[in-house]
Symmetry: C2
Amino acid sequence: MNENLEILKRNGLSVTEGRKKILDLFLDNEGALAHADIEKYTDAAFDRVTVYRTLQTFVDKGIIHQIPTTDNSILYALCKHKCEAGHHHDDHVHFICNLCGKTICLDDVTVPAVKLPKGFKPAQAAMVVTGTCSDCK
Amino acid sequence: MNENLEILKRNGLSVTEGRKKILDLFLDNEGALAHADIEKYTDAAFDRVTVYRTLQTFVDKGIIHQIPTTDNSILYALCKHKCEAGHHHDDHVHFICNLCGKTICLDDVTVPAVKLPKGFKPAQAAMVVTGTCSDCK
DNA sequence: CAAAAACTTGCAACATTATTGCAAATATTG
DNA sequence: CAATATTTGCAATAATGTTGCAAGTTTTTG
């Protein structure tokens, strides 16, 4: 069984062309993708609205997660460690390369715990590191 | 001398109503502000375009910094530790409260260094923690 | 302190990005 | 394979961001 198919079924989603195709993009791509990337790669085979809705569905199901950025865009990346809906194990560091522009999930680098001031209770932590990636060094 | 005036002069910026007002918003506000917040608080006294340009100018001068988010918006916050243009000391942790929605700069909590895989060279690191803030606990 | 120079603002137009309702098409269920 | 449920694409609309330019302000300078 194809991996995309398996993921869709596991999450109780209808199997459609669009979902398979978009999921393949993530599976084939080491880095993270923005909405615009997906439209570009799928060559406008699907309506913009479909892409929005598909991404939202995947986030809801925990198939992909969002990566915070400062440039007014959202990056999406596959959750490698089989997340459940609403309960992401999205605790790894994200790396954005200043040279090639790719965003990479460093799945093996865990976001370190920080000591917060009195009264603050952490629920989740995200970390984005910029610099030069191993391909561009 | 008012603090807003002092900041503008120190950065070699013309002193205008808009800049003083927007800077005051940041000075009066513990948390971070989005473009939309500023339009709301200034009660449309200034054109949208002016707000965009003012924020951009402040970022360029290092007066405010951007905070990464996953919701397709940019948050801005004052740089407490007098940043120079293009050289931010923006190495503190940001906290977003799930209850009141505020974003707070934890100026005293430094982003910890992480060990990256071979070949990755870090330049800057950002960290966003979500949870419950000291007011909402 | 007034005129010149430099800079900032607002407007208008435009571009991009995101959201919603609904009918048609597709997928799943039994 | 028909009935049901879900998904898609289209159209319309909204929200967000950008640019050029003339008019208005601020700063500089003599």
